[in-house]
């Protein structure tokens, strides 16, 4: 059992959690009920991850946990102990170059107010890694779990297809997958 096993009823107890976020290691002390989304925003001040519905419907809070896209509002920070997390802040290259998905959103005007955009960017980044040449139908399936109240989705669908094109023309290397933690740590 981990050190947590001993604390059977720490209703107000705090837990030490280590998160490697965008390649940077953070040690935080959180209550068990702290959502990962709130830990990122409040404890780590990484406010790029947005919180919309807080029950898993809107997708705005989507982040990568060990490379897999998940809702950060439906995960406890304490459950993520030891995980490597990529937030929207981690998609951009250290020199400020946008990732293919970010560039595609800019090219296709895939956002208006931008509230939902971080969740879309993460969801699409993860999906294109497994499905590099999606049809329009697949593009719609990819974004089916993310809500946007501005765009009507047409330009977001275009952005998925454009991002796939940019990834392929970059040989799948340029920002095709979230940077390895060590690369970012070395750069910063």
């Amino acid at each position: 059992m981990t050190e947590f096993g001993a604390s059977t009823h720490p209703s107000d107890g705090l837990f030490d959690v280590r998160l490697v976020v965008n390649g940077v290691t953070h040690d935080v002390r959180v209550p068990s009920r702290r959502l990962l989304s709130d830990c990122l925003r409040h404890d780590l001040r990484l406010t790029g991850t947005h919180v919309g519905c807080e029950h898993g419907v809107c997708g705005a809070c989507t982040v990568l946990v060990d490379g897999t896209a998940v809702r950060s509002c439906l995960m406890l920070a304490v459950s993520a102990d030891g995980a490597a997390i990529t937030t929207v802040e981690g998609l951009t290259e250290p020199d400020g170059t946008l990732s293919p998905v970010q560039q595609a959103f800019a090219d296709c005007h895939g956002l208006q107010c931008g509230f939902c955009t971080p969740g879309f960017l993460i969801t699409i980044t993860a999906a294109l890694a497994g499905s590099p040449d999606p049809s329009e139908a697949v593009a719609r399936e990819i974004i089916g779990g993310n809500l946007c109240r501005c765009t009507g989705y047409q330009n977001i669908v275009r952005a998925v297809l454009r991002a796939a094109e940019l990834r392929r023309s970059a040989g799948g290397s340029l920002g095709s997958s979230p940077r390895a933690g060590t690369a970012r740590a070395a750069a910063s």
Binding site: M1, T2, F4, G5, S7, T8, H9, P10, S11, D12, G13, F15, P31, S32, R33, L35, D38, E54, H55, G56, G59, T62, T68, A69, V70, R71, C73, L74, M75, L76, V78, S79, D81, T123, A127, E141, I142, G144, G145
Partner: protein, 285 residues
């Protein structure tokens, strides 16, 4: 929209988990994928005293096929089960159902056993458990017990998991060589809870006639409703009419009872036609 306070432990074996559940008392809950439990916590619809987080139990993160059964461990996530071609070939209904469970990102985290234990009457996998008459295995400090689907699903969001117990695996029979299956549902938006859904399995006799046809219905009753449609034979429209006469849905904010009954008929016809075609293809008739 924040969870109430709770105690937390994170065991690393089934033995530690059941010990933690036993010591945490009757108000403790198991946290697996959390895709149903954490929304309930955020909305303050549930307030467990303690969560036993089983996400580190690698021993429960498996899917296997043995002795005519697909066995799904409690930490197998929907996405992993759906991506296993041996599983979806052995029991295609699992793949057909999982493709309709929420969205891919939810399936990345949610667990198949967890969704069955959650016993949501709108849950696809709950209907699959009922239709295939699967078995749930529960572990406690005094050992294991197996519970069949009909005894396990007690009511809406209520399953036969006793205080101190951890559901460790679910067994579902593989699809017979002369059988076919299909899943059809209608939801307001892709990935939403189904307004009505139908899972169907048809088995052909040697002569190609229908030996048995059964369907399970989600979102029309407090637990998945299983209806024997064998008397409709190979006539999907007759099966649809039969289903409409057997379901007794209620009206709610999402749909009227009449609309749900209508959907039960239409979806039965679609699912039966799909299952029949699937059975004929598999049996070579």
């Amino acid at each position: 929209m924040k969870p109430p306070a709770f105690g937390y432990s994170r065991p690393e074996s089934v033995g530690e988990a059941v010990a933690a559940l036993a010591s945490a008392g009757p108000e403790a809950k198991v946290l697996a994928g959390g895709q149903s439990l954490i929304p309930l916590l955020n909305m303050r619809l549930a307030a467990p005293s303690h969560l036993v987080d089983i996400n580190r139990l690698a021993e429960l993160s498996y899917v296997s096929i043995a002795d005519g059964e697909v066995v799904i461990g409690a930490m197998a996530r929907h996405a992993g089960v759906l991506a296993d071609p041996a599983v979806t070939a052995a029991q295609p209904l699992i793949g057909q159902a999982l493709a309709l469970v929420a969205h891919p990102v939810i399936r990345n985290r949610g667990t198949t056993v967890g969704s069955i234990v959650h016993a949501d009457p709108s849950g696809e996998m709950t209907a699959v458990l009922a239709l295939l008459d699967g078995t749930v295995v529960l572990a406690g400090i005094d050992g294991e017990r197996s519970v069949s689907a009909k005894d396990f699903l007690l009511g809406p969001l209520e399953s036969d998991v006793r205080p101190g117990e951890l559901a460790t695996r679910v067994s579902l029979p593989v699809l017979g060589p002369r059988a076919g299956c299909a899943f059809a549902e209608v939801s307001r938006r892709r990935g939403d809870y189904a307004v009505c859904g139908v899972a169907a399995v048809v088995e052909l006799a040697e002569a190609g006639a229908v030996a048995s046809a059964r369907a399970a219905y989600l979102s029309v009753a407090g637990t998945p409703l299983v209806i024997d449609l064998t008397e409709a034979g190979a006539d999907p429209a007759a099966a649809g009419r039969l289903a409409m006469s057997r379901v007794a849905p209620t009206s709610d904010i999402h749909a009227t009872a009449d609309y749900r009954r209508h959907l039960a008929g239409v979806l039965t016809e679609r699912a039966l036609a799909g299952a029949l075609a699937h059975a004929r293809e598999r049996s070579g008739d």
